[in-house]
């Protein structure tokens, strides 16, 4: 068994692994939750960060400005070469296929790579934000989420029990235990977190997947 990480350590671990996927002159949209932790781990200065509320060129916060925030409404900074636009302009970029990559959190993923991240039946979560737009529009979608729910249940399941966010399958799922790629609606286990075995991932994953280390 692995040493269990605190929630924030776990999230940082995932964010750090996600950041390794971000390189070259690409535009990346960061969603709410774990994705907001990604920026400080990005090494390539050519990566441009986009936030749905109207800014291309997000950096870490320098001086806090209440009117300069990301999609999570947290203060951010403005990169050199940044630009601002209205919400329709921002989602035109997203839906029109001009954003290279989106990093999204999720409540569930299934074995075809579809995800659920906007509604929990019977609960007071009535919000979709930009999730559906990012799924139809971003060229590549990476999901960043904890492998298990708070109750210890696998969040990578055979079938979603929450409403799906899109017909589209994501391209990659990065958790605290493993990295999966989705190819033709099938999950492939590509990589294990340090100290994690294939058996442990199998045990903690409800979905079927192909091992391709």
């Amino acid at each position: 068994m692995t040493v269990s990480l605190s929630k924030i350590e776990l999230q940082q671990t995932i964010a750090k692994r996600v950041a390794k996927e971000l390189k070259g002159s690409i535009t990346v949209n960061l969603g709410v939750g774990i994705p907001t932790l990604v920026p400080k781990f990005i090494e390539d200065p050519k990566v441009h960060l986009h936030t749905e509320n109207g800014l291309l060129g997000v950096t870490d916060v320098k001086e806090e400005d209440p009117n300069l925030v990301n999609a999570s409404k947290l203060p951010v900074g403005e990169a050199v070469g940044a630009s601002y636009f209205d919400s329709a302009g921002s989602f035109g970029m997203i839906r029109g296929g001009h954003v290279d990559m989106a990093i999204l959190g999720a409540l569930q993923a299934d074995e075809t790579g579809q995800i659920a991240n906007w509604a929990v039946p019977g609960k007071n979560i009535i919000g979709v934000g930009g999730a559906m737009d990012l799924l139809v529009g971003a060229k590549k979608v990476i999901v960043a989420m904890s492998h298990a729910s708070k109750d210890g249940e696998s969040k990578i399941m055979e079938k979603l029990t929450y409403p799906k966010t899109s017909n589209r399958s994501v391209d990659m799922i990065i958790t605290d235990l493993a990295v999966f790629e989705v190819r033709e609606r099938q999950l492939y286990l590509l990589e294990l977190a340090p100290g994690i075995s294939v058996e442990e991932v199998q045990e903690k994953t409800e979905a079927n997947f192909i091992v391709d280390l």
């Binding site: 936030t51 749905e52 509320n53 109207g54 800014l55 806090e64 400005d65 209440p66 009117n67 300069l68 925030v69 409404k73 203060p75 403005e78 601002y84 636009f85 209205d86 919400s87 329709a88 921002s90 989602f91 035109g92 997203i94 839906r95 509604a119 007071n124 979560i125 009535i126 919000g127 979709v128 934000g129 930009g130 999730a131 559906m132 737009d133 139809v136 529009g137 409403p163 799906k164 966010t165 899109s166 017909n167």
Partner: protein, 242 residues
């Protein structure tokens, strides 16, 4: 000059019960907090509010919600104000949830005289239920209708006295779209300047969209919402002939 008013209650004189009102802002960022305060003080009910979040619990539009003045809310992310969900569970409010890209595009379409449009967003999801699906050139889309309102309450950075507007950083968000999509458009700003002081290439909202201009009294700061006094407000009207 004729567009400038001094007080929120003057600005809101055309607001009536039963109207549909667009309210700018992404949460409190770029929200017209002075006009929202005016709405709190005004005796109106049965409003349909179109706004991304319906404020935060007990802040911004959250206060109008708690006064039970909102009959229906159209937005994309009510999660950030749990009071919306509570009222919904009790059957005290109607909700229409739209993806954020659809919300903004529908408002733009309303402002641009379009009836609706086909979008890929939401296809196959629960939010597409009841919406027409159509294949165009091999891609599946759903039909979304445009949104148009009686009133728009928006927030900008500077206005000239003609009504031209510029915005500030991520406080821009829905505001320029909403400026196009209502019969009456009321804006609060940090500063009012003379025509010619805003660069013609930089103006985001041309003056033909704006009906009424007010200097903001309720300002979002890192310490929360601060209410400014009259003197500081008058100093922000740099236009000579106010």
């Amino acid at each position: 000059m004729e567009k400038l008013v001094q007080q929120a209650n003057q600005a809101l004189s055309c607001v009536e019960s039963g109207q549909t009102i667009l309210v700018g802002g992404f949460g409190l960022i770029g929200a017209p907090l002075t006009l929202i305060d005016g709405l709190i003080k005004k005796d109106v009910k049965d409003l349909t509010i179109v706004s991304n979040n319906i404020g935060e619990p007990g802040r911004g539009l959250g206060l109008v919600l708690n006064q039970n003045k909102i009959k229906k809310a159209i937005g994309s992310y009510f999660t950030s104000n749990r009071d919306v969900g509570d009222k919904y569970q009790k059957g005290e409010i109607e909700l229409e949830l739209l993806p954020q890209g659809t919300l903004s595009e529908s408002i733009r379409a309303g402002g641009a005289g379009l009836g609706g449009y086909y979008t890929t967003t939401g296809v196959g999801t629960d939010l597409a239920i009841g919406k027409e699906e159509r294949v165009i050139d091999g891609t599946t889309y759903i039909l979304e209708k445009s949104i148009h309102a009686d009133i728009a309450l928006i927030r900008a950075h500077k206005a000239d006295t003609l009504g031209n507007l510029v915005y500030y950083k991520t406080a821009r968000n829905f505001n320029p779209l909403m400026a196009t999509a209502a019969k009456t458009v009321i804006v609060e700003v940090d500063e009012i300047v003379e025509p010619g002081e805003l660069n013609p290439e930089e103006i985001i909202t041309p003056h033909l969209y704006v009906d009424t201009i007010l200097v903001a009294e309720h300002i979002l700061t890192t310490e929360g919402v601060v209410v400014h006094d009259r003197e500081s407000i008058e100093n922000r009207v740099t236009a000579n002939n106010r």
